[in-house]
Structures are given as structure tokens and as C-alpha cells.
């Protein structure tokens, strides 16, 4: 436990040094927040006030939360492990007495903690200042949202780790990474919530794939979709996906390590 905390603190501190890059990311996320809110507002205006079960205010909050979540779950651009596999440095990770999954997970939680204070908060403030905004009616929604964010980070971490593990077989995991970038953006609900899709497809995406757990569900929990029942269902689905994905990560890593051949002396 002490080690986990130390690693998380190191992750927090490491990312807090990239201040300019953080500022640039907030600017870019906010720009896309503006663009997406206007499109969703135009859609909801022509649809008569409600689209896909969301009101105007709910869609605004939804958009700013998902834009902020990009940084918190680190949806794109993590290939630290894949790089280490390619260069062989991964051996150093494997020699330590702790499974590297836990080391990376703890560090990632620290990173997510820093991102929550900056990259999640800033777009929400911008959105709340400029647009009509949906504030949760129930105080319990705030702690539920935090739990949902934590689960989202866990699911996303596991999936990113899995993408990186593919480097053990492919060496060049760029193709898989690109597929992940495309599918995760669409499936996580970054461009539109899954309930905008036709009924059966929305069902498949929301309950049979892990992607909405990464972004859409935390936003749904905050805008109180389907009341308490809906919030708890979403948290349960997220928790289930977190367990499944982490279990797969452990299994795949075991096979990957068995395959590993260390080159040179």
C-alpha cells in the first residue's frame, strides 16, 4: 500500500512538471468543447428540446465532462510500455519483485489525479461560464461521479496496457494503436452519446463493449441520467468491465512474458 501511494505521488509529480503541455491541451480540449456543444445544441434545437434522451443543459455538461475526461483517462498517446518492449528495456520492469501492471497502474492513478485537478476541471469551468449547464440535483451525484471517474481510469488503463502488450507479438504496434484511437473515440461517446444511435446498436455499444465506461458513463452519472437506478447500473457495468479488462491484462502479460526472448549479453 505504501509503495502504491509513493508511485501514485510520483506519477502526480511527474505530470505536474509538463505545465505548458497541460495548458496547450486544455486549450485544445476547450476548442473542441465549443465546436461539439454548438453542433449538439443545433441538433437538440431542431429535435424539439430533447435528443437521445438528453436536454440541452445535459448535453452541454456531457460535452465538457467528456472533453475533460480525455486527459484524465489519457485516452490517446500512451506507448511507454510498447516502446520498452521494442527496445528490450521491459526486462528491467519484469525483474522487479512487483508485477509491472501494478507499478504502471499506481503511477497512472497519480497521473489521473493531476489531470483531474487541471484537464478535467478547466473545461468544466469554461463550459459552465459560457453555456447553460446542468448541475446535479442530488448531492450524492458528486461522489458517485468521482467513483465513476476512478473506474473509467481503471478500464482505460487496462485497455491501453493491452494495446501496448501487443508489441510483444507485433514489435510495431502502431497499427493497433491507430485502431484503438479510432474505436475508443467513437465508442467512448466523445463525438456523440451512444443513445444517439439506433436502439439495438446503442444497446450493444453500451452494455457489450467496454468503451462507454471510459467516458460516457462518468458524464451520464453526473447529468443524472435515469436517476439513481441509472447511476448505479452504470457504475456496476463499469466495475464489471474494470475487472474483466484487468483479468485479461494479467492473462495476456503472462503469455507475453513466456514468449519473451532477451537479445544480446
Amino acid at each position: 500500500m505504501r509503495m502504491t501511494l509513493a508511485l501514485a505521488r510520483a506519477g502526480f509529480r511527474r505530470y505536474s512538471t509538463y505545465r505548458q503541455a497541460t495548458a496547450a491541451s486544455i486549450l485544445t480540449n476547450s476548442m473542441f468543447g465549443f465546436l461539439r456543444v454548438y453542433v449538439l445544441f443545433a441538433a437538440v434545437a431542431a429535435a424539439g428540446g430533447v435528443a437521445g434522451g438528453y436536454t440541452r443543459e445535459q448535453l452541454s455538461t456531457y460535452t465538457w465532462v467528456t472533453q475533460g475526461m480525455i486527459g484524465v483517462v489519457a485516452l490517446w498517446g500512451w506507448n511507454e510500455l510498447a516502446d520498452k518492449v521494442r527496445t528490450g528495456e521491459v526486462v528491467g520492469d519484469l525483474l522487479r519483485p512487483v508485477n509491472p501492471i501494478w507499478t504502471y497502474f499506481a503511477t497512472d492513478l497519480g497521473r489521473a489525479g493531476f489531470a483531474s485537478c487541471t484537464r478535467l476541471l478547466a473545461p468544466i469551468v469554461v463550459g459552465a461560464l459560457v453555456f447553460p449547464f446542468y448541475w446535479p440535483r442530488h448531492p450524492a451525484s458528486y461522489p458517485l461521479f468521482l467513483v465513476s471517474v476512478l473506474l473509467a481510469v481503471s478500464v482505460c488503463f487496462a485497455l491501453r496496457y493491452l494495446v501496448n502488450l501487443s508489441a510483444f507479438w507485433l514489435l510495431d504496434s502502431r497499427g493497433i494503436t491507430a485502431v484503438w484511437t479510432l474505436v475508443s473515440g467513437l465508442g467512448a461517446g466523445l463525438y456523440f452519446p451512444m443513445s444517439f444511435l439506433p436502439g439495438w446498436l446503442a444497446f450493444v455499444m453500451q452494455y457489450l463493449t467496454p468503451f462507454p465506461s471510459i467516458m460516457q458513463f462518468p458524464a451520464d452519472v453526473l447529468v443524472e441520467r435515469d436517476g439513481f437506478g441509472g447511476q448505479f447500473t452504470r457504475l456496476a457495468v463499469q466495475a464489471l468491465w474494470a475487472l474483466i479488462c484487468l483479468a485479461i491484462v494479467f492473462a495476456v502479460q503472462r503469455r507475453a512474458v513466456r514468449k519473451l526472448v532477451v537479445q544480446g549479453g
Binding site: S25, T28, F32, L35, Y38, R174, A178, L186, F192, F196
Partner: protein
């Protein structure tokens, strides 16, 4: 003949680059399929929006798809030819740019040729396909000037987006840790021009559509092609503004680039 000699090294670098990318064929095709998927995702988003609504800013699906098609074709052409200038920040950070500066060739063409990504051809194909399908689905009164317009507007758009790519990439000369900053104007610009500009509210629209000129890239030319009046009440000839706007943007981009190169002192690595 002199011109031929001048271009030959670039042509050689380009063919070498393309041939090396074509070596790993399966990897290349996966890459291209994914790139194509990224472009398609934009249109999927437009279609999904029309799954829950009947109009955006008073425009129906086919009208919006013409706007998106014009924007996507222009953007994809720019992305294919100069999009990889976005790697400038990596070259500055790692000091690789110094290697290019000491060669007796211009830096920008070197940079573009060295990283040329053939797989981006897929994006152009998606843009052109959507544009053609949307144009056939709409009942446009085809006159010679409309045909001339639809053939040239995406090219002017490509010039405009190319200027955006170069201008925002140049920021790395001053601000090394610029991160994703450029994306706000390049990819953000593409997203902005995908939809009719009357859906954006006052301040935002004035700044980006009119101030930075994004509104002239796809929206106004499309109004002229569709023969529709502007819901904002501006005159139809603004559909031709894309040509001077693209030229001005290109001029500014050249200016920023040259200042950046002069400002660059290396990172000391």
C-alpha cells in the same frame, strides 16, 4: 532545365519514402484503412446527428453533407501534402531540425518530403466520394460557373488548410512544449467547417468563421453552389472569398515560417 535540377533531390527523397512505406504491405494497408476510417468517422458523426434531428441550422442532411464534403476534401488534400509539418515540434525538441538546416536545401520542402505519408490518400478518397454522392443527391441547377466552382473550391480550401498547418506548426519555434495546441486550429478547423456556420453563436462565429476565415472555406462556397441564401443575411458573392482568403493565409504562413526559422536557435542537444 534549371528547375528540373532543383526539384530532383526532393523527387528522389519522395520516391524513396513512398517505396519504403510500400515495403511492409500489410502494415501499409492497415494504416491506410485506419486513416480512411478517421475521415469516415466525421461523416458518421454527421449522419448520427441526423438520426436524432431533421436539420442543423436550417440545413438538411444532403446540404450539410455537401458542406462537409467540400471541407473534408480540402482538408484531406492539405493533410496529405503538408500535414506532416506537424512533426516539426518533434524535430525542434530532438534537435533533428539542425541536420536539415545545414543541408543546402530549403527546410520546409525537406520536412514535407521526408515524412510524406502516402496512407493519407485514403482520406482524400473518402472526402471526394462523399462530395460526389452528396452533389448527385441534391438538385443543383448545374451551370458552367458552378462546375468551375466545385472543381476549384476544394483546392483553395486545401491551400487554406495547408497555411493553417504551417502557421500552427511554426509555433514550435517559439513554444517548444506546444503539445496539441496546433490541433485546435487544424483538426478543430476541419470540424468547424464540417457544419453550417450559423449554428455557432456570435462571439465564436465572429472570431473563427470571419476573423480567421474558416467560414469562407466550405460554407459560403456551398451556399453559392446550392443556390441558397445565407440565413445570416450576407451576400452570395462571399462564396468567392475563399480564393483571396486562401492566398492571404498562405502569405501569412510564409511570413510566420520564415520568422520562425530565423528565430530558431537550436535546443542545444
Amino acid at each position: 532545365m534549371a528547375e528540373h535540377k532543383l526539384l530532383r533531390p526532393y523527387a528522389k527523397m519522395l520516391t524513396a519514402q513512398v517505396r519504403s512505406q510500400a515495403q511492409y504491405r500489410s502494415s501499409f494497408f492497415i494504416d491506410m484503412a485506419v486513416q480512411t476510417g478517421f475521415s469516415a468517422a466525421d461523416f458518421v458523426t454527421v449522419m448520427v446527428m441526423f438520426g436524432v434531428t431533421t436539420a442543423l441550422g436550417g440545413f438538411g442532411l444532403v446540404d450539410v453533407l455537401v458542406i462537409s464534403g467540400v471541407s473534408a476534401t480540402g482538408f484531406a488534400l492539405a493533410d496529405l501534402t503538408v500535414g506532416n509539418v506537424e512533426r516539426l515540434k518533434t524535430y525542434v525538441r530532438t534537435g533533428l531540425l539542425d541536420a536539415m538546416l545545414i543541408r543546402p536545401r530549403r527546410v520546409l520542402p525537406q520536412l514535407l518530403v521526408v515524412d510524406f505519408q502516402l496512407r493519407r490518400v485514403g482520406r482524400v478518397a473518402v472526402g471526394v466520394t462523399v462530395l460526389v454522392v452528396a452533389l448527385t443527391a441534391s438538385d443543383i441547377d448545374w451551370t458552367w460557373w458552378r462546375i468551375a466552382l466545385i472543381a476549384t473550391v476544394p483546392l483553395a480550401g486545401a491551400l487554406y488548410f495547408s497555411a493553417m498547418f504551417v502557421m500552427t506548426a511554426s509555433v514550435a519555434f517559439w513554444w517548444i512544449e506546444s503539445g496539441e495546441f496546433a490541433n485546435a486550429f487544424t483538426y478543430g478547423g476541419r470540424e468547424l467547417t464540417t457544419y453550417p456556420i450559423n449554428i455557432y453563436a456570435n462571439f465564436f462565429r465572429n472570431l473563427f468563421a470571419f476573423g480567421l476565415g474558416f467560414g469562407f472555406v466550405a460554407y459560403y462556397p456551398t451556399l453559392l453552389i446550392l443556390g441558397r441564401p445565407d440565413p445570416l443575411g450576407l451576400p452570395g458573392w462571399l462564396g468567392l472569398a475563399v480564393f483571396p482568403v486562401a492566398l492571404i493565409a498562405a502569405g501569412l504562413a510564409a511570413l510566420v515560417w520564415h520568422n520562425g526559422i530565423r528565430h530558431y536557435k537550436g535546443t542545444g542537444s
